[in-house]
Symmetry: D2
Subunit: 359 residues, 4 copies
């Protein structure tokens, strides 16, 4: 009989590297004499007690697979949709299932929203450990999240493809990346892909400055431009209205999606007279085989997670710190969002090679 029993779930949007992390948690847990049970479909499986035993045969061959073999959902224990009845607080069921299974720890792999939900469960008495998983890279307390490198790679390679079309047709092409309310993905992919203009939520833009940058390139004889825009990018006017209304940005794991980018394209075409097209990358950024860098990172986090649990850790997020992975108190990071500081070194880099941020 194993010394300890760990539960594990994957919550929020699916993300490359989840299976690599599950494999590492499971393999390392076994090495430490612990057993592992997986809950299906995020917190919903915890509440409904739908589980599978993560034995070695389940963990074999999944290192390179996208998605999550456990399934995922955006449901939160304390506000879970129940048929047509609205939502209910299912926390007591989650706590009850945890106890009846005699779990020693529950590993929650998720982004900023999941960390918040996991922290509630911690306060309800469960021993929670989280792993920072998200393509958005917006989790506080860790150098980076797994999934980000894959999403950045997909987005940058999409920009590569669009370059040849933009160049051949002498067009402006706007590429909308994911990222929720942060600009890490647009900034990273934009710089790696050589975008001429990058628009991120943390630096509200003047549409006239963007148009002027396009016209300046045109006057220099450059017959195309690439704009990388984060789904959460906003104009200075929108930022002012939001500040006035006191709207706060929360790290909830809701999906973005809007036709803001289509309207931006129309306005820029009107302001510049240059043919402008939009490509929305959408879910392409979260699917498919993780990059080797993400597989390595997810393996490091998952293995360290099992090690920390075997040593009795509780109420922590396993965070990346340089070449190492370290525990961080959940209370210190829950509810916080890691945005791009406007003076971040990557911003400086991008400006130095000529990227316009529209500010």
């Amino acid at each position: 009989m194993p010394e300890k029993l760990i539960g594990v779930l994957t919550a929020g949007g699916d993300c490359p590297g989840l299976n690599a992390a599950l494999r590492a948690v499971g393999k390392a847990a076994n090495a430490y004499g612990m057993g592992v049970i997986g809950f299906l479909d995020g917190f919903r499986g915890l509440v409904e007690n739908r589980t599978i035993h993560l034995d070695p045969s389940k963990l074999s061959g999944i290192l390179t697979m996208g998605g999550t073999i456990l399934g995922t959902s955006r449901d939160k224990p304390h506000r879970m949709p129940v048929g047509s009845m609205g939502t209910m607080d299912m926390t007591p069921l989650a706590v009850d299932n945890y106890s009846r299974l005699h779990l020693d720890a529950l590993v929650c792999m998720g982004g900023a929203g999941t960390v918040k939900n996991a922290y509630r469960l911690l306060k309800s008495g469960l021993n929670i450990i989280t792993l920072p998983k998200t393509i958005d890279n917006d989790v506080c307390g860790t150098d980076v999240t797994f999934g980000f490198d894959t999403a950045m790679t997909i987005a940058a390679e999409a920009i590569d493809r669009l370059h040849t079309t933009a160049d051949s047709h002498h067009r402006i092409i706007i590429v909308e990346t994911m990222g929720h309310n942060t600009g890490w993905l647009a900034l990273g992919a934009g710089t790696a892909g050589g975008a001429d203009i990058t628009l991120i939520p943390e630096i509200p833009y003047h549409i006239e400055s963007v148009a002027e940058a396009l016209l300046r390139r045109s006057r220099q004889g450059k017959r195309f431009s690439i704009i990388a825009v984060a789904e959460g990018a906003i104009t200075v006017e929108e930022a002012a209205a939001r500040a006035e209304a006191g709207t706060e940005i929360s790290p909830d794991d809701e999906e973005g999606g809007s036709d803001k980018t289509a309207r931006l394209a129309q306005k820029l075409q009107a302001l510049t007279g240059l043919e402008t097209r939009v490509t929305v990358l959408g879910h392409l950024q979260r699917g498919g085989t993780p990059t080797p860098a993400d597989r390595l990172l997810a393996t490091r986090l998952g293995a360290r997670c099992a090690e920390l649990i075997s040593e009795g850790a509780s109420g922590i997020m396993v965070a990346v710190k340089g070449d190492d992975c370290v525990p961080v108190k959940l209370g210190e990071v829950a509810g916080k969002l890691k945005t791009v500081p406007p003076d971040h070194p990557w911003i400086r880099t991008a400006r130095q090679v000529g990227t316009c941020f529209g500010d």
Copy 2:
């Protein structure tokens, strides 16, 4: 002084393999003692006499490059946009430039629309040779067009990525491919990517049949489905209305694009109660490095084109026929569109492995 002088242009949407074909025309032309001049930006460059000399240095290193070093446009000589004045018939200018340059042949690389425009120039007295280039594979008289394999590869790999997301979230995901008014791309990528449902213009669909197929999968315990939909796919009702109105489908090189697919998603979600998302691949399908298969194909067509010109060919399209490339009279293929016959072997294959076409 070269024996003969060839002009070459690339028209219509940009397409992977154009540079490989230009390189092959140029290298083989030189081997046959002929010179090559490139017109910039499609037929517009012919009309405006904007040219570059395609000497060996220009052709080096472009085999793997996406887009076209000549630039392209959708302008037609006989209806060319002129400032805010509407359009004018610029054919005489095209003919004049051709004569003044003492060209022996004009190679036009393009899709079904370009073949039509090129045929008009042939009738105006120019010696025209076309190469079948398009990601849509809708050119008559050739086994296949270059660009198609690359686009199919990109679309199928996108379906691969979306599979993991659909699976993890238990969703319906609809992938819209290009293809204009034909279904080759959706059919090829859908079958290669394992789409559960494929919707193409040649087989109008009943939305209820599609919904029923989704529910059937759901009842079988399959928690996700992938739908590959061609941008030109239509319902039986739309097909009937179109037939009634006598609307004809023409091979013009216009771009598609609509929010039909978004509406399809809404309807299917309403009919099935299953969460449904859309990804529009758009320009990603035409950019970037061509697949090696497309590079080989474009090289074969380009080299054969130069050979045929050196032998005095006129008024032909160079067509793929098995391992060979053969001349086909332009008059036999101009103005025709290669659609997918409803009893085509690929349709039969797709049905045999369980694909639903909604008919």
Copy 3:
């Protein structure tokens, strides 16, 4: 109870697309009311009666997977290695197992060697159907084999990578591809990758001509060259010796591999004074996810195979013929090898764009 029962095995070297073909045979067989049993590890599993039932759950999710879920081996029924005892003719066991399972047909997926072995079983009374699978493309009677496009893609993309190294270091780089005794792979990848020199078994080369071609490029100021060499390429001297000895090339599925290519590099470096390096692609060419084109092709062949069996076909290979798949009598193709005709259109193409074959 299913109407008919099909056995299936995969033999010879593993090859991208095998799982796609297995999935298509299985899915289409089910649609025609037939059951499918898989033999493990090629002909060995048939002899040892090691089987698995290929029910739908086994076929799900394998479309994109490399390798073969059945395993493979190079063992031949009539000459099967038995411990340290040498080999034995196990054909009677194969025939016996076939009968006891009441199979209606045995599908053998394999290359030229497998076709030969399968034909022996046909003559022993089994109803054999083969599918042309091999990265070498050397099977007679079919336009192409599945696996070839993937291998050509991998080899051409390797040439792309080596181009940048060759260019930066001003080197000769020799890339050895697979292909057994035929040059399809080296020819296709070489042309698609822009190799300057391509050496294939069907066109024996003079090493002096190769050295001269390298020096000519050097004199033209081109500071690097790429040579694509098939593992079976031979010099004119070797070809003469082989002809004298009456050595015949057989389509047996033996693996190549030698240090011939290393010696070629040494000789060329000595003859030219140019720094020369070798990369042997080896097994990289046969592994990993098949290209979408190969998945489509394997699906077409597999589905058609099931259809033909349901219609009572016997003693055939399912062959690719244009967009269709057609039955070809096994007796017409067994024991034959499809080599590259020296006047094949692809050779002409390669010469037209300047490729040297060393002849």
Copy 4:
């Protein structure tokens, strides 16, 4: 006239990201009002005064290109090969050319060997700035080098491909990676690719332990194994002999390459009776388009390099430190090699998921 003039060269083995770094140095230098001259073919170009002006047109479109537009060589100024005469100390020529061009700084992009050579030039009075470039990741003083992520990605994806072959044929496959005398590449790619055994120079191995690990897997019913071996991996016996002889490992930029790995395969096959094959990745690991992560990293380093020069920095390496890039004194890092500490967190991770190191 620009305020300052920078020279730049790329030395040692070519490496993905060199062009991205050159572009960033050039673009940022221009933004700071400085001009940039490139020396061709590494230190040789400095000695022979072969230069090109890196104006904006040269820097456009190179972000995604592999190799280096400047060319590279392994020549060292103080021991430069001169015809058949052996080598000469060309440092005075290098110093003289630097002065006559009125350079304010010389940027040397290279690995551990280049840092050593650059440091000699610093001591000869040149203002040297180095950028840590190498696929080996063996440069001291920086978190990571550019090129490493691309090489690790290529190697891990090769392991993915070989997995399917190993699995289908029930074989041991040994993959030899580069890395000189360090194990970063084998360790990173091995862990990301799920290698069962990883052999690196820093942990000498017992061949019997490796054989035993293979047999253990075989007894557990696992029918294949993947071994990632660094080109510099050694047995405990070799390590002891080397220690006895007092042989020191130097950071010189010499190329590896041996048939040690072939002999390892033979021994393991003899010890285990399991079929064993070798794939040597070789130059494939250094060519081709850099990963987006490497493009971002090279851009960050290149832009920061220009900034530091504009601020008057001298005698430094620009090093990666978290999200930032910081100057490090050349004297502190020259001549040192960053090896993998046997207790490095990545080693612990690999052991936790079951990797055997043969120790």
